[in-house]
Structure formats: structure tokens, C-alpha cells
Subunit: 157 residues, 2 copies
DNA sequence: CCTATTTGTTTGCACTGCATACAATCCCAT
DNA sequence: ATGGGATTGTATGCAGTGCAAACAAATAGG
């Protein structure tokens, strides 16, 4: 019993265009999605104790690097819309990791700051992230990591 | 304040380590997530008319390539658990794009097949995917695409 | 001053991921 | 052959994310 008839078709339909775009393994987006899924799962395992998600850590990290940042600015840096940003910040605020403060210069904006508990949690998170990064990088040389990041950046910039 | 005393030994024996792991821009997983998000958004835009998600297209594609495939096999190829696979197949079945059939060789398994409507939809989807792929690939040379796929595969394989 | 824009908020919906529990079926060792 | 364990599918529930629409408060600009 033959399993891979699809290869045969690919060979026999070289030139004329009937909509055949090859195998799913050749779709770049397919590999991006699988790689993202693998990262997501390992990240989740690494952060089960801390009960933090990728987004939540990213938000805390950015707030730490940019104290007083607005929700809009934060959302744009992480490519999230306002509603999604809201729910994440609500969760972090409910856990007392960050606080909102009316911006003195622009009454529409909320200025975001980490609480001391938020800073402590971020420090923990960074240790876990280092583990996670080592897991990702373990299969690459430094040069390959550099290449990968450079190629990925071209997609999202 | 220190929470993870187990790290103390490692820290004090080797050169001192205050937990600083650099900027978020240097985290590989960060770029994978952003690139995935960019792909996800463009895919969603491309498929608004067809009302299909990445997963749904992947499932239909795999069922077309492997008629009679079981849900477990499908889930393993796409790295989805049984419950997630169920909901996706339920949706596709409700739209009459595929059907379940008791496997004659193993009574536990469901054999999955595309319906004629499913095949027609998949043909449409492949056209849209080609557009989507061109959008991704437009910023790379063929060699860079090859490199990117090869590096990503190392993460999810 | 008046209007358009920006920012935040709320609500609601869809998709995904995962845990748990259960039923049917199969596999294997006794 | 039979009983116990493993596999597969199913159902339910919950959390996180993404997004659209509508509204309110504040700002910006003519």
C-alpha cells in the first residue's frame, strides 16, 4: 500500500498551473505556526509555577523599561489592539503587579508602573525566560540565532 | 528579597549574576511570537471571505493528502491534543467540508474524508494561501526562505 | 468654540489550548 | 478466552487571546 501518492502528482504536474501549490511542508507560514506552538508550549511549562503568559511577561518587561508608558504605546509595541491590552493589564493589575495612574500631561492616557511585587515577579520571570531561551537556542549556533532573529524581524517589522 | 535560594549556590560559586538577561529585543521567542502574530493577522485578512483559520486549512489539507486519516494522527501531525482537534473537526463537519466514518480496521478510530464541498473549498484556500505565501516570501530571497524554514523546523521537530 | 481625533473602557463573540471525566474499542499477558 | 491496561473519541468547562462595535473623557486643531 502506497502512502505518498502526493509526491507522484508533484512530479507529474510540473508546469501547467492548476492551483497546485505543492505540499504543506513547503509553506513558510506552516513552519512559523508550528515553531510558535512549540515555543508556546515550552514557555507555558516553564511558567506554570509563576502563572504568567508570554504576553503578560512582555507587558511587565516593557513597563519596567518604560515607566509611565501608556496602554496605546504598549499595545503598538506588542502589536495588540486596545481591547486585548486592556484585558492583560486588568489581569496584571488584579494581581497587583502593576498600577494605572492618570497621566499628568494627557488626561486621556493612563501611565503604567510596576509595583514592587511586579518588579519582584519580573525578576523571577527573567530567570525563567533565560531557561526558556536556552531551550530555544540549544539547537543553534550563535550565528544561526542571529540569522533567525534577523529573518523573523523582517516579517513583523 | 530572595525567593529562590536554590540558585544561591550557583550564583556565588560562578561569576556574579544579578539576573539581568538583556533587552527583550534579544529574546528569540519574542521575535517568533511577533512574526507569528504578523502572519496570523495577514492570514486572517486573506481568509476573511472564506471564513477559514490556519488550523482549519491545515486540517483540510492533511485530510486531502491522507484520506481516512484518524483524528489522533491528524492531531499529532499538527501538534494538537484530542480536544482541540475535536472542536476544529466539529466545525468543519458542521460546514459539510469533511465527514467522519467509522474505521473498518479499528473501531475506536474515525476515518476522515473531505466532502466534494470540502475539496472545492480547499482548492479556493490553496489559491489564497499562495497569495499569503507570496506576502511572506516577498521580503526574502529563495535562499533565505530555505534557511528560515530549516531553522524553524529545528524548533518544532 | 466646535468638531474630529485619540485614548481608554465595556461588552460580546470566535478560536485555540488544555484538563478532566467517561465510553467504546483494542491489545496483550495470563 | 478473558480480564486489565492502553488507545481513541467524546463531552464539558475554563483561561487566554484577538477583534469588532459602541460609548465616554480628554485633547488637538481650525
Amino acid at each position: 500500500m502506497r502512502v505518498r501518492d502526493d509526491d507522484l502528482d508533484a512530479v507529474t504536474t510540473i508546469d501547467h498551473d492548476d492551483g497546485d501549490i505543492g505540499e504543506i511542508k513547503d509553506i513558510v507560514g506552516f513552519h512559523i505556526r508550528l515553531a510558535h506552538g512549540a515555543c508556546y508550549r515550552h514557555f507555558t511549562e516553564t511558567f506554570t509555577e509563576l502563572e504568567l503568559t508570554q504576553k503578560q511577561v512582555s507587558v511587565m518587561w516593557l513597563v519596567a523599561d518604560h515607566p509611565g508608558i501608556s496602554q496605546i504605546d504598549l499595545g503598538q509595541r506588542l502589536r495588540m489592539d486596545r481591547a486585548t491590552t486592556m484585558t492583560i493589564i486588568n489581569r496584571l493589575q488584579a494581581r497587583h503587579f502593576l498600577r494605572r495612574e492618570k497621566s499628568p500631561t494627557d488626561g486621556r492616557k493612563q501611565a503604567l508602573y510596576l509595583t514592587p511585587q511586579g518588579e519582584a515577579m519580573l525578576a523571577e520571570a527573567k530567570l525563567a525566560i533565560r531557561e526558556h531561551e536556552n531551550w530555544v537556542k540549544s539547537r543553534f549556533t550563535d550565528a544561526e540565532v542571529k540569522t533567525l532573529v534577523e529573518l523573523l524581524a523582517r516579517i513583523h517589522e
